[in-house]
């Protein structure tokens, strides 16, 4: 396994090459981990059927990526992380596209990336994992407090802030609509989760979203 660094603003992100392509004509699979996780040491067994390269990104404040001072995490920041990885990976892709596989929080970010860069994301697969529920769907009375600086990952601010990040269903659905509008696929999103929080249930109900087992999703987007 090799690790390269991609830059997102002031953050150095670790991009792990977990497995080289078996078939050079197959596109890369980008793994996005859950909240508080990091890229595993090797490609998980449940994705090894993928014929292209398998690559994992450590989000800001996770794994081997930079720990920022004083927090400030949002899902949209992590979308920027994933977009930095996308920019690096499409150069290696035979057709200029990648497929995204996200667990938990990574599933939400993968969906955002599929909407934001629809022409470069050939399918987003959403799987259960830490941070899947996310925060509330509307305004709350949550308060604010500071944490001591951390030198280890995961950054406690990431755990706190991304665990309460707002996910209104209509906002989340808009990423599905963007993915459909910009993708060549009729169904560019696959929901493979058992747990369906409110925002994800709304996603699964959208036209253009597959509700299928993981193996079928991988096969469809291959």
């Amino acid at each position: 396994m090799s690790v390269t660094t991609v830059r997102h603003n002031k953050i150095d992100l670790a991009l792990h090459q977990l497995r080289a392509a078996i078939d050079e004509t197959a596109r890369p699979l980008l793994l996005l981990h859950g909240l508080g996780e990091h890229t595993p040491a090797e490609a998980p067994a449940w994705v090894t059927s993928w014929q292209g390269a398998i690559v994992g990104l450590d989000f800001t404040g996770h794994g081997n990526s930079t720990i920022p001072s004083g927090g400030g995490y949002t899902a949209e920041l992590l979308l920027g992380d994933a977009d930095a990885a996308l920019a690096a990976l499409v150069e290696q892709s035979p057709d200029g596209m990648i497929t995204v596989f996200g667990r938990g929080l990574g599933a939400y970010i993968g969906l955002q990336l599929a909407g934001a860069r629809a022409s470069q994301v050939h399918g987003a697969i959403m799987l259960d994992g830490p941070g899947l529920a996310g925060g509330p769907t509307g305004p709350t009375s949550q308060s604010f407090f500071s944490l001591p600086p951390s030198n280890t990952t995961p950054d406690p601010y990431a755990l706190v802030e991304l665990g309460r990040d707002l996910r209104p269903p209509d906002y989340v659905r808009s990423f599905v609509q963007l993915a459909i509008a910009g993708s060549k696929l009729e169904e560019p999103v696959a929901v493979c989760t058992v747990f369906r929080p409110e925002w994800l249930a709304a996603v699964a109900d959208e036209h253009g979203v597959m509700d299928v087992p993981l193996a079928e999703a991988l096969e469809t987007f291959a």
């Binding site: 909407g115 509307g138 009375s141 308060s143 600086p149």
Partner: protein, 333 residues
């Protein structure tokens, strides 16, 4: 490196030191453009807001009772050079700070509403030492403080919100698929910007050129005031002046937050509240129609609408607004 082990080598200490040197150099040379009635702060220093260096600016007697003044987005504490001295003349120690990434404060790796809120708490703790404070906020600073007043009311003796009351902007004539196109453009533009920010610097220019650029966003403000802003919110290097604000920050963006969520917090605020709105809509304003927010006033609240005044009420009418604030806080001193 395994999960859970230190990663100190990836931090950005050198970068921060460079920025601190730049801003201190600019302060030492003091090329501040004079403007009638404007005064530099009496005291300037930094505090550590949980790992982020925050620059504090104070006007007035150091022993006077403190009042916090919170600036808006893409502004900085020195935009209170006209307004704060008038409050100080009323017997207050006016304390403002540059929000992270703005003015002389540190350029952080990340920016968010919650992070701004936590930085603000560090200032509250430093100034108030556990006690409640009178607070004035403009634009984004007003909206931040409105949410904080709802979340932590024990920190406030009263709140003045200067043209920082958000209101839902309806665009009724746009079909759903057009909204998606607009959002797609916003997201792509934001992500494209993020891909460039690691090498991005703000465009240099002369004082007049930067003032002219700022004038496009602040068309109602006097040129000499804008020129002063360049010399208080910018720094000079070999190729010209640049704004100090972090080049990764920009207008626009997207996210799940909706402006009406701040408005919903207003009616329940338990402390005395004064809203000051300008009647004239402009680029950096929040497009808040006064008649729409008046029904949201809290029980101890009122709203003053300044006719013929734009978003920067405290710059266009510093004495009038200072008098309103001094009158409002006079009984709370």
């Amino acid at each position: 490196m395994p999960h859970g082990t230190p990663a100190p080598n990836l931090r950005q200490h050198d970068y921060r030191r460079t920025l601190a040197t730049v801003s201190h150099t600019a302060a030492t040379l003091d090329q501040t453009v004079p403007f009638p009635g404007a005064e530099a702060p009496s005291r300037q220093y930094d505090i550590d807001a949980n790992g982020i260096r925050i620059a504090i600016h104070e006007w007035g007697d150091a022993d006077a009772p403190p009042m916090l003044a919170v600036h808006g987005g893409f502004d900085f504490a020195r935009t209170y050079d006209l307004f704060a001295p008038r409050l100080a003349a009323g017997g207050w120690r006016v304390v403002s700070w540059d929000q992270r990434g703005h003015g002389d404060s540190e350029h952080a790796e990340l920016y968010s509403w919650d992070a701004d809120m936590r930085d603000a708490l560090a200032v509250f703790d430093h100034v108030g030492r556990g006690g409640p404070l009178p607070v004035v906020g403009h634009s984004k600073g007003g909206a931040l403080m409105t949410q904080l007043a709802d979340a932590q009311p024990f920190r406030f003796t009263g709140l003045v919100n200067m043209d920082g009351i958000p209101y839902k902007r309806n665009i009724p004539d746009i079909a759903e698929h057009e909204r998606s196109k607009m959002m797609a453009k916003d997201i792509a533009s934001w992500l494209d910007h993020r891909r460039r920010t690691s090498d991005l610097q703000r465009k240099p220019g002369t004082i007049d050129e930067l003032a002219q650029r700022r004038g496009r966003m602040n068309p109602r403000l006097e040129v000499e005031w804008l020129r002063r802003l360049v010399t208080t919110g910018g720094f000079e290097s070999e190729d010209g002046w640049r704004w100090k604000i972090d080049s990764s920050m920009r207008f626009g963006g997207f996210g799940p937050w909706r402006p009406e969520w701040t408005l919903m917090r207003l009616p329940g605020l338990p402390m005395p509240f004064l809203g000051i709105l300008g009647s004239e809509m402009e680029e950096m304003g929040w497009g808040t129609p006064p008649k729409k927010v008046l029904p949201y006033m809290p029980l101890q609240g009122r709203c003053e609408v300044l006719e013929g005044v734009g978003h920067f009420v405290h710059v266009e009418q510093p004495q009038l607004v200072a008098d309103l604030v001094l009158d409002f806080f006079g009984g709370l001193k």
